[in-house]
Symmetry: C2
C-alpha cells in the first residue's frame, strides 16, 4: 500500500520531469530563435532586393538564404526528435499545434523565395509573408513561456518571449525602413506603420525589463551603449517626418539596414544570454530537486512509525514546538513520523506559493493575450489595420485615463453587442 | 521527417490523453466524495456521542465507522492504482502532494476515533480534527478541478468542487448544531460559527449555480423541495437566537441531526449526478476527439502535395474563397494541401478559444484562492478567527461598496506593510 512518503516522492519526481521537459523545450526555442534571427535578416535583404528592382543585394540575400536553410534543417531535426508518440498532458496539444502551423509555413518558404527572386511581389507582400512565418515561430516560443509551472522559470521565459517579440518588431522596422529608403519616396501609411513598430518594440522591451534578472538588463543596457542609437534615431526622424511623396535618399537604404542590423545583432547576444540563464536555472533547480528526492527516498529505508500520527490534527505551529523532542528510543520514531508530516506540509506550502506566484507572472502573459484579442476584434468589426486598432485603443486609454488592458477588457466585453462581421 | 500533419495528429493525441487522464482523476474524485460523505456523518455522530457524554449514538457511530473504513480501503486502492512511477507533467506534483497529505491524515484516523470513544476531546476538538481531514480530501478535488484544460469540463469541475465544498459547510453546520443541542446550552461563539457556516455554504452553492448545467441546477432545486427546509430554518433560528447560556432542548439534537442529514443526503444525490455528467462529457469528448484523430490519420495515406503551399501566406478568409476550387487532376492536390493547412489553422483557433474560455473559468477558482489567502493573512496578523476575518472583509466590502474579491486583493496588496506575525 502506498504511503504519504510514496506520494511525496512522486510529486517531487513530477517536478523534476517538468524541469527536464522545460530544458528540452528551451533547447527547441534556442534553435527557433536562431531561425527567427536568420529569417529576419533574409526578410530585410529581400526587401532591399525588391526595393532596388533586383539591382543590388542578390548575393547577400542568397548567402543568407543558405544560412537559413541550414538552421531550418536543425529545427526540423529538433521537431523530429520531439516525442510525439507518447502523448503529453499539459501544454502538449498547444505546442504541437503551433509546430504543425510552423511546418506548413516552412514547406512554403522556397516558393516564397522564388516569388521574391522573380520580383513578383512588392516589399509589403514579401514582408507580410515573412512576418506570418516568424509570428508562427514566435507562437512556439510563447507556448513554451506559457507552459512553465515554476514561477522563477516562468519569469525568465516571459522576459525572453517579450525580448524576442521586441526584436521581431525591430526586424520589421528594419524591413519596412529598408523598403522605404530603397523606394526613394516617403509614404504616409508606411510611416504610420514604422511608428507603430517602434512603439510596439518599446512596449515589449519594457516588459522584458520588468521580468529579466537585473544583470541581464545590464547586459542589454551595455550593448545598447555600443550600438549607433543616435544614428538610428536620426534616420528614424528622416523616415517618419518626410512629407508624403517627398524624395528619400536611396543610398541610405544600405546605411539604414546596417545600422538596424547592428542593433538587432546586439539583441541576439542578449537573447543568447537569456537562453543561457534559463538553461542554468533549469539545471540548478533540477539538481536541487534531485537532492531533495534523494533525501525523501532515504526515509523509505526507515521502517514506518505511527506513534505520533495524531500530530496531523495539531496546528503546524504546534508541531514545531519543543514538545516534538521525544525521549529515548521512542523519540526517534516520533521525530521521523513528524518529519514526514512536516515534509509533506512543507511541499504543499511550497507548491501553493509557487502556484500563487505563477498566477501573478502569467497574468502579464494574459494581459498581452487580452490586448491582442481586443485589437483583433476592432480590426474585424471596424475594418481597421492593426496599427489603427492599436492607436484607437491607446487613444481611448488616454481619454479615459485608464490602462490599455482595462480598455481591452472593455472592448471585449462589448463583443456581444458589436454587429456581425460584414462579408 | 515529420510533417505538419504529424504534429496535427500529435496535438490531437495529447488532447485525448488529457481527457483520459481527467476521466481517471474524476473516478478518484468520486471515491473521495464518498469518503467525505461518510466522514461528515461520522463527525456528526461523534459530536452527538461526545455531546451526550457517551450515553447515546455509540452503535450508530460504530456502524458509520465501519462504512468509512470500507470506503477508505477503496480510496487507498485508487491511490495505489495511480501511476506514480512515470512522472506526469502538468498538475501531477500538486495532486500527488495533496494525496500525500491526505494519507498522513488517514493514518491518524484510528487514533482520532479512539480519543472520541474515550471522550478525551470535546466536540470542538473532534470537529476540528475531522474538518482538517475533509479539507485535505477537498484539496484533492480542487486540484482535479484546476487541472482540466477543456473549458466545458473545467466548468463542470468548478461546479462540482463548489457543490462539494458547500456540502462540507452543511456538514460542519450539522456537526456544530448537533453539539450545541446535545450540550443543552446556547453559546455565542458557536452561534457565530453556525452563521458563518450557513453563509459560506450559500456562497458555494451560488457559484455551483453559476457553473452547473441548467438541468443539474433543476435536480438540485427539486431535491430541495423534498427536504424539510422549513423545519431546518426553524431550528437554525432557535439555535442562533438563543441568549448565551440559555437552555436548549437536548432532545432536538437527534431531530437536528436527522433533518440536516436528509438535506445532506439529498446533496449527495446531486453530487453523484454531477459526477455522472462529468463522466459522460469526458467520454463524449474522447469519442469526438478520436473520430477527428482517425480523419487526420486517413490523410496520412494520401501522398503529400505541395502545389499550393503558398496558401500559407494568404489570409484565412482568402483561402476560403472560391479560388480554392482547382481544376482537374491538379485540383485534388490543391484541395488536399489546402485542407491540411485549414485543419491546422482550425485546430490552432480552437485551442486558442479553449484557452481563453479556460482563463475565464479559472479566474473564478483564482478568486476563491485570493479570498482565502486574504483571510489567512488577516487571521495571522490580526489574530482573528476564520469567521472574524471573513466578517471583517465582508464589512469592508459593504462599507466601500466593493466586491469581496476586490477587498481581498487590497488586503493582499497591504501584505508587505503589515507587521510581522508576532511569535
Amino acid at each position: 500500500m502506498k504511503s504519504g512518503l510514496n506520494f511525496l516522492v512522486a510529486a517531487k519526481r513530477c517536478e523534476i520531469a517538468e524541469l527536464q521537459q522545460l530544458a528540452l523545450t528551451s533547447a527547441l526555442v534556442n534553435v527557433t530563435g536562431r531561425l527567427i534571427h536568420g529569417l529576419q535578416r533574409e526578410r530585410g535583404l529581400s526587401n532591399l532586393l525588391i526595393g532596388s528592382q533586383g539591382a543590388r543585394f542578390a548575393d547577400m540575400r542568397l548567402q543568407q538564404i543558405e544560412e537559413c536553410r541550414q538552421i531550418e534543417g536543425e529545427l526540423r531535426a529538433c521537431f523530429d526528435e520531439l516525442d510525439t508518440a507518447s502523448a503529453r498532458v499539459g501544454h502538449g496539444a498547444r505546442l504541437f499545434s503551433r509546430i504543425a502551423y510552423v511546418l506548413q509555413g516552412l514547406d512554403a518558404l522556397e516558393a516564397l523565395r522564388e516569388r521574391v527572386a522573380a520580383l513578383q511581389w512588392n516589399t509589403r507582400q514579401a514582408t507580410d509573408a515573412y512576418v506570418r512565418l516568424v509570428t508562427g515561430l514566435l507562437a512556439v516560443v510563447f507556448e513554451a513561456a506559457d507552459s512553465a509551472s515554476d514561477p522563477e522559470i516562468s519569469r525568465l521565459l516571459v522576459a525572453r518571449f517579450n525580448f524576442m517579440q521586441g526584436k521581431e518588431f525591430a526586424g520589421q522596422e528594419r524591413a519596412a525602413g529598408s523598403a522605404l529608403f530603397a523606394s526613394g519616396r516617403a509614404d504616409t501609411s508606411e510611416q504610420q506603420r514604422l511608428l507603430h513598430l517602434i512603439e510596439s518594440q518599446e512596449r515589449c522591451l519594457q516588459v522584458f525589463g520588468e521580468f529579466a534578472h537585473p544583470d541581464v538588463a545590464e547586459v542589454w543596457a551595455a550593448s545598447q551603449a555600443n550600438t549607433p542609437l543616435a544614428e538610428l534615431e536620426r534616420m528614424r526622424r528622416v523616415l517618419c517626418t518626410a512629407a508624403h511623396g517627398a524624395p528619400l535618399n536611396v543610398q541610405l537604404s544600405q546605411t539604414w539596414f546596417d545600422c538596424c542590423s547592428r542593433r538587432i545583432d546586439s539583441m541576439k547576444v542578449v537573447e543568447d544570454r537569456l537562453a543561457l540563464d534559463l538553461q542554468h536555472t533549469c539545471e540548478n533547480k533540477t539538481i536541487a530537486a534531485q537532492a531533495e528526492l534523494a533525501s525523501y527516498e532515504a526515509l523509505r529505508a526507515v521502517p514506518p512509525q505511527k506513534a505520533d500520527a495524531m500530530s496531523f490534527f495539531h496546528d503546524a505551529t504546534a508541531t514545531a514546538s519543543p514538545s516534538g523532542f521525544g525521549a529515548g528510543a521512542q523519540g526517534y520514531g516520533l521525530q521521523l513520523e513528524r518529519s514526514i508530516l512536516e515534509l509533506v506540509q512543507e511541499q504543499a506550502r511550497r507548491l501553493q506559493t509557487m502556484g500563487e506566484e505563477l498566477d501573478t507572472v502569467r497574468s502579464s502573459l494574459n494581459e498581452r493575450k487580452t490586448i491582442e484579442r481586443a485589437k483583433g476584434l476592432l480590426m474585424a468589426h471596424r475594418q481597421l489595420s492593426e496599427e489603427e486598432a492599436h492607436k484607437t485603443m491607446r487613444q481611448m486609454a488616454m481619454n479615459q485615463n485608464r490602462r490599455l488592458i482595462e480598455v481591452a477588457e472593455a472592448v471585449l466585453a462589448m463583443a456581444d453587442v458589436l454587429p456581425a462581421r460584414p462579408r
